[in-house]
């Protein structure tokens, strides 16, 4: 039996795990609630939908962004769970390369996140069509960037999952890295007028700023005292480079570490 066949088997059963988990439906619920909050909240609490469809498109991107973050919850237990719950005693004693197991788990997590992200963008498209009558091409760009972001978030989570003893630790470490360390550092660099393209939090913003710069999206209503650097939208090309680097480096690191990890 070829390693590719084994990869197919691992991917399918790992995907089945996600399909049968409450996590998938919880994240799906969060995505739908986020989109509904924008779609219902704007006309109910404000002056209706913005004149510029790019602004609403950007606002609706919060749903798919949350789906992307859902990758953390899918992937947190992918590797650490095998060691923490001792299911590795059953899985790792089979004649399958650990590389195959990690890739299969990654593909399954990726499929679940793609499914959620796709659903988020379907809601975005239907909403834009309903309100403005057409969908901007930038939505496709945002979708592509979201998939790339999801892939890089998955890789980062796989890395933390491969070095952690427990699922919870892996999940928390990833969230702290993405939202606290990366986020705070990004803010500091922006305040200092320094480039922050290499941070995943800034690169991730490109899924929204693809619709226009921050100033355009906030319709010129920017807080006072903000420097040009603070208003500067991330460069799309540099964001892609940053996300690809996170995706590749963290993914290969997670394979390398998992191959060497022992199950005592």
């Amino acid at each position: 039996m070829s390693e590719f066949e084994k990869l197919r088997v691992v991917t399918w059963y790992e995907f089945l795990k996600h399909l049968r988990s409450k996590r998938l439906y919880a994240i799906l619920g969060v995505v739908i609630v986020a989109e509904l909050a924008v779609l219902i909240g704007l006309p109910t609490l404000g002056d209706g939908y913005p004149d510029d469809l790019m602004v609403l498109a950007a606002m609706l991107s919060v749903g798919p962004s949350l789906a992307t973050l859902g990758a953390v919850f899918f992937a947190g237990d992918a590797i650490a769970g095998e060691f923490e719950r001792k299911t590795g005693y059953i899985l790792f004693t089979n004649p399958v390369k650990r590389t195959t197991l990690v890739i299969g788990k990654y593909l399954a997590c990726g499929a679940a996140v793609v499914l959620l992200t796709l659903l988020g963008y379907v809601i975005v498209c239907i909403s834009l069509l309903g309100v403005y009558g057409h969908i901007p091409i930038e939505t496709a760009q945002s979708f592509g960037l979201s998939l790339l972001l999801a892939g890089s978030v998955l890789s980062v989570t796989f890395f933390f999952s491969s070095v952690s003893k427990g699922t919870m630790v892996a999940t928390v470490m990833t969230l702290v890295f993405l939202m606290v360390i990366s986020g705070v550092l990004n803010g500091v660099l922006r305040m200092a007028g320094q480039p922050g393209w290499f941070l995943l939090s800034e690169a991730g913003d490109s899924t929204i700023t693809v619709y226009g710069g921050y100033e355009a999206l906030w319709e010129g209503d920017m807080p006072h005292g903000m420097s040009d650097r603070m208003l500067e939208a991330p460069d799309i090309n540099l964001s892609i480079v940053a996300m690809v680097i996170y995706l590749v480096v963290c993914f290969f690191l997670s394979i390398w570490i998992t191959k060497r990890r022992q199950l005592a």
């Binding site: 066949e5 059963y13 795990k17 001792k86 059953i90 790792f92 005592a264």
Partner: protein, 244 residues
């Protein structure tokens, strides 16, 4: 490769450190074809470490382990294809049923189609889980999980079984049934299993290895040990420094 390396299990000068703790100290032993060998020793003696190295879960600090002449560290996939294992009390994916679990593991071992379905049915019947075959494992007791562990170990009809405390968690009936299964299938397989139950070992094996502090203290036929020490129990206690 020498003929001796072709024996089902060969352990050569195996040592294993956990940080600075020496868990295995230059351990060597060989198991011949269709031999059933019990691995005895007090808690922390190194029994599980030996079996986990053979299963590719741990790497030795020095020495080597071979399954059917295949170095477990260098070619783990080839070595693992020859064995069925139960390590400690394994956990299963709670979102799967026993049928699905065995299907997953069987397919990873290259089994498919009618052959796989037939083997799943046989394995489930063998461990008496027929009524639970389509129930998710999350509802299973420890004993039922242990039965499923035995089913997955036997699913692909491996020539070698490596079992670590395989009867742990089973009720008295389960223990008896387990012994009967191992006794039956063990006639045509090499079985290496760790246990604390001397009676169980006596019933299933002709040979035992007694280890303590990672060192092999005795490796002989039970009959020989009984002759020398009057009983296996006395042999175990004397060798491991326990009180009589």
């Amino acid at each position: 490769m020498g003929d001796r390396m072709r024996e089902p299990i060969v352990i050569e000068n195996l040592s294993k450190y956990y940080n600075r703790f020496l868990a295995l100290d230059d351990l060597s032993m060989r198991l011949g074809e269709n031999e059933n060998v019990g691995l005895l020793g007090p808690n922390g003696a190194g029994k599980s470490t030996v079996l986990k190295i053979l299963c590719g879960l741990l790497r030795p600090s020095s020495g080597a382990a071979y399954i059917d002449g295949i170095n477990v560290v260098e070619r783990p996939e080839q070595a693992l294809s020859r064995i069925g294992t139960i390590v400690e009390t394994p956990e299963f994916y709670t979102f799967l049923t026993p049928e699905e679990t065995l299907s997953y593991l069987g397919r990873l071992r290259g089994m498919q189609g009618d052959g796989l379905r037939r083997r799943i049915t046989e394995a489930i019947r063998l461990v008496r889980l027929e009524d639970w075959a389509t129930v998710k494992v999350e509802k299973f007791s420890r004993g039922m999980r242990q039965r499923l562990a035995l089913a997955q170990a036997l699913l692909h009809d491996p020539p070698i079984l490596i079992l670590d405390e395989p009867a742990l968690g089973l009720d008295p009936r389960g223990v008896v049934e387990f012994r009967e299964i191992i006794e039956r299938v063990g006639k045509e397989k090499t079985v290496f299993f760790a246990s604390h139950q001397l009676g169980e070992v006596t019933q299933l094996c002709k040979k035992v290895a007694i280890i303590d502090h990672g060192q092999l203290l005795a490796y002989d036929d039970i009959a020989q040990l009984e002759k020398k020490y009057h009983s296996l129990e006395r042999a175990y206690l004397e060798l491991t420094g326990g009180a009589l």
